[in-house]
């Protein structure tokens, strides 16, 4: 990550003293600080407050209540196994796609991107129809083929939950490892084979140690995802009679709400994610291998020989589980009267579409709300992220390192926890945002800031400051340079950031589920509402609509960027 070395870059800006642009930078920094510190401050405050003054009683109850303890333990189990499963799927696929002559790599990358952007709760919902122990299509098929009594998979169970969550988490591991493998030159591996090492030996003793940090940090990333997830456990764990931390926090909001308990219960989750992220940073920071880091050197493709097609088949099998099967069953449910019955003419209907879009009065306003929030958040978020990344890259104000830290900090705040903090912060004067779209907007901007920031950061790293310096020499002010030189250069990067944030917003569920009011529902919340009432057809219709919107944005982004979403430049 730390490639910036040129000292020359920092000098002019340090020496320029105070200029008129300073207020802009300071305002941006303050806005960020407010966004993050206000909800977290309130969260901490509420977790220790009671009518009779400060107390640790809420923490006491959180750690002694057997039900909450169980939820805590379930979350640990879930996150750990999701991490491992994601590695088991993601690492081999990354290696195959980066270092071998696997056929159909473009298709695989494309599908990988599709599972990356699929909202996990939609996947979980689809898997209810695929692998419900009795009515699930796959289990019925299995019974018909084998005559067995017991189901092949029971999706309403811890292993089922781990499986489904891993299906939509492994792309993180894939990206992490594939991108690292792309950076490692083959010289060392070749040297080893010249010295007589077998293929396996090369892989284990040369390649593996070089990607080890990426593997570990991919694992941590997957664990973080699993910790923060709300939708999938709500859909798969609750019917099986168990909670995770996130669903438990949500349940604590039911009437009569126990906000203090929810706040106290949020803190361990917050600490766990912070700790994991710290660990990941350590691991990546220590990456001192000379071979990683440049794009120099050649990367030789390892021939798979007879294993080419079996390997391809393996990859496609995984992607079938995350894409083909779920999308297929969603499409079937959208067009049928009874999703569990065979697709016949009698079972065919367009009624679900009619009901969802024209009869169900929440749909239209939810779609409008979602689009409105998506656009607002993407514009403000991308703008703010660009400003912040610019400040940090050009070292424009004192304490810019702190700015980087703050911008990335929301990564450790799970959506549910952020929502609890925002709920407490904005349900009281002077800022009464609850009940308006603004509270969702604030939540989304905060939640998407790390993504936006890292995207913008990468953009500005790619723009050498010499052009800006030329502008300075010719007498232009910072703001004018930003507008006339930097912004045009950064345009495609900023558009990509915009798209990333937009996609993040339309799939957001875990914060929205706590912050919505009936007038401010978004699509994901409507889907969750429908789920609680068992309206499968309508959920399928809305789910497909959401996917269509997502893919439209992805296509737009790829057109603008001229490359694929995950960074491949074939």
């Amino acid at each position: 990550m730390n490639h910036e070395a040129p000292v020359a870059r920092t000098l002019p800006s340090r020496l320029e003293g105070i200029d008129r642009s300073l207020p802009v930078w300071v305002m941006a920094a303050l806005a960020l600080a407010l966004l993050i510190l206000l909800p977290l401050g309130w969260l901490a405050y509420v977790s220790v407050s009671s009518e009779s003054g400060a107390t640790l009683a809420h923490y006491g109850r959180v750690f002694t209540d057997p039900h909450l303890q169980k939820a805590l333990w379930n979350t640990v189990v879930l996150a750990f196994w999701v991490g491992l499963a994601s590695l088991a799927i993601g690492a081999p696929m990354a290696w195959l796609s980066a270092r071998t002559d696997l056929p159909g790599k473009r298709v695989i990358r494309g599908l990988m991107m599709a599972s990356f952007v699929t909202p996990p709760f939609l996947g979980a919902f689809a898997w209810v129809m695929l692998a419900g122990p009795n009515a699930g299509v796959l289990n019925k098929l299995y019974r018909a083929l084998t005559g067995a009594e017991d189901p092949l998979v029971n999706i309403f169970s811890m292993p089922g939950l781990i499986f489904v969550v891993a299906l939509y988490t492994f792309p993180y591991v894939f990206i992490m490892i594939a991108n690292t493998l792309e950076l490692i030159a083959s010289d060392l591996e070749e040297a080893a084979s010249i010295l007589g090492a077998g293929r396996l030996q090369v892989a284990l003793t040369v390649t593996l140690p070089m990607v080890a940090p990426a593997i570990l940090s991919g694992f941590i990333l997957a664990v973080l995802q699993a910790l923060a997830l709300f939708g999938s456990p709500a859909i798969l764990a609750l019917p099986a009679g168990f909670h995770t931390i996130t669903t438990q926090i949500w349940a604590l909001f039911h009437y009569p709400p126990k906000v203090e308990m929810a706040a106290a219960f949020s803190i361990p989750l917050l600490l766990a994610t912070a700790l994991l992220l710290l660990l990941q940073k350590r691991l990546l920071g220590r990456r001192g291998y000379a071979s990683v880091g440049g794009k120099g050197g050649q990367r030789r493709r390892i021939p798979l020989g007879v294993w080419r097609y079996p390997a391809l088949l393996g990859c496609l099998a995984v992607l079938a589980c995350s894409i083909f099967l779920p999308y297929g069953i969603l499409a079937k449910a959208a067009f049928s009267r009874a999703w569990a019955q065979p697709m016949t003419w009698e079972n065919f209907t367009l009624g679900n579409f009619w009901f969802t879009f024209f009869q169900y009065s929440s749909t239209q306003s939810a779609i409008l709300n979602t689009i409105e929030l998506g656009i607002m958040t993407a514009c403000v978020g991308a703008g703010l992220a660009a400003l912040l990344a610019y400040i940090a890259n050009r070292k424009l104000i004192l304490g810019h390192q702190l700015l980087t830290f703050l911008a990335l900090a929301p990564v450790v705040i799970p959506g549910v926890v952020l929502a609890v903090g925002l709920f407490v912060a904005y349900t009281r004067p002077p800022l009464l945002l609850y009940g308006t779209l603004w509270i969702l907007f604030v939540a989304y901007v905060t939640k998407e800031m790390p993504v936006g920031y890292s995207q913008s950061d990468a953009t500005f790293r790619g723009i050498h400051p010499e052009l800006e310096e030329a502008g300075r020499i010719l007498g232009a002010g910072r703001l004018r340079i930003l507008k006339e030189i930097t912004a045009p250069l950064a345009r495609s990067g900023i558009i990509a950031t915009w798209c990333f944030i937009f996609i993040g917003v339309i799939r957001e569920l875990s914060a929205s589920i706590i912050l919505f009011t009936p007038g401010t529902k978004v699509i994901s919340v409507v889907i969750f509402d429908l789920k609680e009432e068992g309206q499968f057809g309508a959920i399928a219709v809305l789910g497909l609509f959401m996917l269509a919107m997502t893919f439209a944005i992805v296509v737009l982004m790829q057109t603008v960027l001229g490359r694929d979403f995950l960074g491949a430049k074939e």
Binding site: G241, H243, Y255, P257
Partner: protein
């Protein structure tokens, strides 16, 4: 055909409303409602039914909109309370299946006293003695099963039959922490068989869903062949759509759930709220609830489908709203303790 029926209903209703009472006062109220333009309805009535009632009202009073916010009874209460905490006054009319909610809301002075036209003929169980809330509809909680999977001869006949270990992994329950129907159901059965009943039931590893509407779908799909609770109307409706479902009215008695409706004391559209409340208690709308939604109502002139048992033929387990309100925390806590979530 369906449209013509709708038209007749609408005409009948608007006729009934317009010509009832002094025309002048009615006109003034209608004018005031028109100015308000809409009514916000927080309701736990199953989604398609709620949307249908809203469409009927909008057809009867063109230009006035009904904003339907449908969710589970407990979520309705949670929303209202959470909003009030943030000083948001959004809801005009509240309707849930947890009569205890209305005890609580009345106590907190959050309800407006209003007696809808025509409810004096309703049975006592549908009327609040202080005149704040009235039962819009009623249902009984029953057992449902899938006859394709379970031959009728082997189907459970009583609540106690469900404790048989042979049903292990084959049953589904809705959640009292979401549904008022189920909260009432649990209270009625606790009073009948004690908490031990639920403790034993939980040994059979039930699938947990949220809404009292959902078990019928789960049974129809075959995911679990037996539902241990759920409103009879949802089973009847699912069956009418051609799904394999049979309803069992257990001999020990069936919990009766009367779902009240009331106007809030802070209603932002009070005139429309009154107009709407009168509307949903007209014989025509109550008949719609009975015909197309298979619900029971308190209206004495409503006719029911021939194959639906009459309420007076059933042994009913009635619950006291005050007790429901008092024990709501206990019900949820113990249910979670036994069933896990």
């Amino acid at each position: 055909m369906a449209e013509r029926r709708l038209l007749t209903i609408v005409m009948a209703i608007s006729g009934a409303v317009v010509f009832a009472g002094p025309a002048f006062a009615q006109d003034a109220r209608l004018e005031a409602a028109r100015k308000e333009g809409k009514v916000v309805w927080y309701t736990s009535l199953a989604l398609p039914s709620a949307e249908k009632v809203a469409k009927l009202f909008e057809a009867a009073y063109p230009g006035i909109k009904v904003e339907v916010h449908r969710t589970g009874s407990q979520r309705v209460l949670q929303r209202v309370m959470q909003e009030l905490q943030a000083n948001i006054k959004n809801a005009d009319v509240l309707h849930t299946s947890d009569a205890g909610h209305f005890v609580l809301l009345k106590e907190k002075k959050l309800l407006m006293k209003y007696t809808p036209a025509g409810v004096e003929k309703f049975p006592p169980g549908f009327k609040d003695r202080d005149g704040y809330h009235y039962g819009l509809r009623a249902t009984v909680s029953v057992i449902g099963y899938n006859p394709k999977v379970i031959p009728p001869a082997e189907a459970p006949k009583t609540w106690k039959d469900l404790l048989d270990p042979k049903w292990k992994g084959k049953m589904v329950t809705a959640h009292p922490g979401y549904s008022g129907i189920i909260a009432t159901h649990v209270l009625a059965l606790v009073n009948l068989h004690g908490w031990d009943y639920f403790k034993q039931l939980a040994q059979n590893k039930l699938m947990l869903v949220q809404s009292a509407v959902d078990p019928s779908g789960v049974v129809a799909s075959g995911e679990r062949p037996v539902a241990v609770n759920g409103g009879d109307y949802t089973f009847a409706q699912t069956k009418r759509k051609g799904n394999p479902i049979e309803i069992v009215y257990p001999k020990e008695g069936v919990p009766l759930i009367v779902s009240p409706t009331a106007i809030t004391s802070f209603a932002p559209h009070p005139n429309t709220a009154r107009l709407f409340t009168d509307f949903i208690f007209t014989r025509e709308v109550q008949q719609v609830l009975a015909d197309s939604e298979d619900l029971y109502t308190g209206h004495p002139e409503v006719k029911y489908p021939a194959d639906k048992p009459k309420l007076h033929e059933l042994k009913l387990l009635e619950s006291d709203p005050d007790e429901l309100e008092r024990r709501t925390e206990e019900i949820r806590k113990r249910f979670v303790e036994f069933f896990g979530a």
